[in-house]
Symmetry: C2
Subunit: 189 residues, 2 copies
Amino acid sequence: MGRQGLTKERVVTEAGRLIDEVGLARLTLTALADRVDVAAPSLYKHVDGLPGLRRDLAVLSVRELADGLARNAVGVAGRDALERVATAYRQFARARPGLYVASLWAPAPGDDEHEAASSRALEVVHAVAAGYGLAGDDAIHAIRLIRSVLHGFVSLEAANGFAMEQSTAVTFEHLVDSLDAALTNWEPR
Amino acid sequence: MGRQGLTKERVVTEAGRLIDEVGLARLTLTALADRVDVAAPSLYKHVDGLPGLRRDLAVLSVRELADGLARNAVGVAGRDALERVATAYRQFARARPGLYVASLWAPAPGDDEHEAASSRALEVVHAVAAGYGLAGDDAIHAIRLIRSVLHGFVSLEAANGFAMEQSTAVTFEHLVDSLDAALTNWEPR
DNA sequence: CCTCGAAGCTAATATCAATAGCTGACCGGA
DNA sequence: TCCGGTCAGCTATTGATATTAGCTTCGAGG
């Protein structure tokens, strides 16, 4: 009906909440429209269809992830930094499960805004590697290792991939230990 | 038209090929029906709708993954076993990208067939951990570590998550090295 | 107070999943 | 041989959903 005062900002934010609640698979323009109290086609005034919305969600999520990582990494280095960043990463995935999945969509080539957000997140991990004295190609591979471990863990955790009831907190400590050891005893190849 | 000689087996196999080609997101009963040359509703004679098909794909994929891992792990132990299993895991994810994603869907509680297939895959990883002398809770955590690293790496690789052009093969070697070190110097907690 | 852009609407179309109900091909037994 | 039943496959239909087209109206700036 009357003006809703809707903005792209709010549409995307609300979509983020929606996917956290119901899962990415059930992100639907109809459901989102209901949520912001507008007819579905009206969303097109703010967002470029479902593909556009997904892209916007990806940007939002990477920004929030980058913020979370950066906030926790300030003023620490070495193992402390690794631990803080790893924990922040896991926390983000647990607190925003829908958004987290969206953060994995790679930027389209030429999407500067999206790429900038990704770089910012990567930068934090890069700093962690630097704290272990890694640079150049070694840093690249180390970053990939860190991301693999963290992403693998949180996504298996989210997918209920760890059937046994043993504590995932303990597993996570092992993960951090292993990463710390790998970065400490890094062998260039 | 005339009898098509279609079987559940073939429907699911063909669905597996389809998702490898076009991606899980574009798995559609319509597309699958076209592929096997049948009208869409006819698929319901073989498969329990889209949810049922997805579940069948999950079972198929876990079986193929388990087969691949087991085939490569026979007769080796320790680092050799780790390397072989890790490589087989990565190979599966690269050769069958659609199926690989389906392999991540956790079995529904009480789905014995699905759970059995999952156990078989887990068993291979368990054997790898055993090769490093790990048992009990340590083995559980070690398995989770291995799965996290492997899944994280292959899924980031598949999602084009590694933007830089540096060799992913080298990264993978670092991954295996790190896992080997972690398992060798395992510290119970 | 007029204008115009933007925000919202309704109506219509296309794609897809799913259900209902029909048909005819094959198989086994009398 | 023929008869009947099962079951694979069909067409028709309904209900979601995305998307487009085109209309309406609010509200801010001159």
